[in-house]
Symmetry: none
Subunit: 304 residues, 2 copies
DNA sequence: ACGCCCAGTGAAAGTAAGTTTCATCCGTGG
DNA sequence: CCACGGATGAAACTTACTTTCACTGGGCGT
């Protein structure tokens, strides 16, 4: 029916802006220009007329409309009022935080700390806001019932994958993580119906992870993707897609905000799975906690 | 010029609705009908088109415009976005967050997500608040000037240590991380004055990490501890102590909140170090980013 | 290398929304 | 009873939004 793949923006009450920035890479260049303007200053965009906005983005009105559709709106007026609402909601605390994406060259450490913390915290919050509980539920179900869970991730996302694996393992689930692609592929080949494969890639374009997930899917496993970009390639090989909402700016913050967001999602899944079977989980956790006890020194109340 | 008595609504951000209902009696009958609709459901009014609203108020578009002017707006579109903003704001307060520390046994996933995200975000924020910029500064100085940096951490904190190592490495610093205690001890023994050793332990009681840090200190290296507990044993072997502010509750959230807090601190240090030498850093980052490019598939706009 | 195809784009036509104008209505006071 | 003026809606008008369509340029198969 519709040739333009609208990504529903309906079930994400708190995050139109977030939603848009997630979609940013999947937009055409001209639409991206529009998107950037909108994300940069939603309130201002809401004030502008479509012609005005188009001019500002150095494009035509037609493109602005296309952009509206791309992000799930019916038309410009709808985008406008949604933006206005959004902007009103995010009336930041009175203090003039150094929030903008970037950190000024001459910033002192206190500023840097404030900025980073703010962005990190926001990534976590916004991720939670846009997470679809229904999808989480399905993923939790699948993992809870899985005979085996493989978690894939490369580079920075590898840490998260590893973390997830460890968490699942700690509550008695059979979970694996492979730092090496070849090993991962081998493992994926051994998966079957009822098993679950989780692929983590911030950009959603990491070919290693995609391949492995594809393999897993071919074998009949349920595949889950965790990425920041809802239209990235990895989502094509996933049965369930979970997204984070980190708006990475430049290199500076590296992938930290996105990593935090990923960890939050992983934590949610973990708790969800754990909650499914309290007793079993608790027992396993106590056992593992006890195991590391010997590696701790006395309670260490006060020093000296 | 203006024969209609505009009542400026510009500088009362909090109460467009209040403002309107205030001057309701001064409006003409037809305008009052419009006003009542607007006050009754601002969000709904914002969604309507002028014709639609006029019809609903059993009047003409002209009257709606007059109403807009009467309440200080330039025209209908402006009223519309103001209403949208207003409505959005007043929906916020009643949000009953499931904030409490713990997750009730019967909680559904949406609740779990909200709780976790809240706690995670708070850990990040609170950590930033209590971080001492002066200490950070000294640590950044030390790392920036270090010939070599060793990062230690076990278990969950190991991820963070590893992350820090990788970050430093990416900007061209000589940094190491060792998953294995023995190797770490060996490495610590090779440190000397001017080098830096960073020990990460949430509890501050992980003997492995403490021992290694102790060793490093004995060799003359500057030691840094990152822990949640400012009086824990690890602080005794550290020249500089950085603390996180995660209040872990029970097992449920596992160590995630603390991990996020640690990552945030690490990120701050990283950015601090990176900021010290922009040029060098940027170059190194570009090079490393380029290196992984081949492992990515095309921009992945839209799916099939 | 060539040409086909198709996503991306803006110009322009078309439609809908918003605004102004103006004639009418109606109540009031001379 | 008429003149007046505020209130109002119909219609003309303007501006904003949407659709259509033709053109471009890059990718891909032959």
């Amino acid at each position: 029916m519709a040739k333009s793949p609208k990504i529903s923006a309906s079930h994400e009450p708190g995050g139109l802006i977030v939603h848009i920035s997630g979609l940013l890479p999947s937009l055409s260049p001209a639409e991206q220009r529009v998107a950037r303007l909108v994300v940069a200053d939603p309130a201002d965009a809401a004030r502008r007329t479509i012609t005005d906005l188009a001019t500002a983005a150095e494009t035509s009105e037609a493109t602005v409309i296309r952009f509206c559709r791309s992000v799930g709106m019916n038309g410009y007026p709808q985008l406008r009022i949604r933006l206005a609402a959004e902007a009103a909601r995010r009336v930041e605390p009175p203090d003039a935080r150094v929030v903008g994406g970037d950190i000024p060259p001459g910033a002192d450490l206190a500023q840097i700390i404030a900025t980073i913390a703010f962005n990190d915290a926001r990534a976590v919050e916004e991720t939670a806001e846009q997470l679809d509980p229904a999808v989480c539920e399905r993923v939790v179900e699948a993992i809870g019932a899985a005979g085996r869970i493989d978690v894939y991730g490369a580079g920075a996302s590898g840490f998260v994958a590893s973390d997830f694996q460890q968490k699942l393992h700690r509550i008695g689930r059979i979970a694996f993580y492979f730092p090496d692609v070849h090993t991962a592929l081998t493992s994926a080949a051994l998966l079957g119906r009822g098993d679950v494969a989780v692929g983590i890639s911030h950009t959603g374009t990491t070919s290693d992870v995609i391949e492995v997930l594809e393999q897993a899917r071919a074998r009949g496993a349920t595949t889950v993707a965790l990425t920041n970009f809802p239209r990235s390639p990895i989502t094509e090989v996933a049965d369930h897609v979970l997204t984070t909402a980190a708006r990475e700016t430049t290199y500076r913050s590296g992938a930290t905000a996105s990593r935090l967001a990923q960890l939050t999602v992983v934590d949610c899944l973990f708790v969800g799975v754990a909650a499914r079977s309290r007793a079993r989980t608790k027992k396993a956790l106590e056992a593992t906690a006890e195991a590391v006890q010997s590696r701790r020194v006395g309670p260490g109340r006060r020093r000296a």
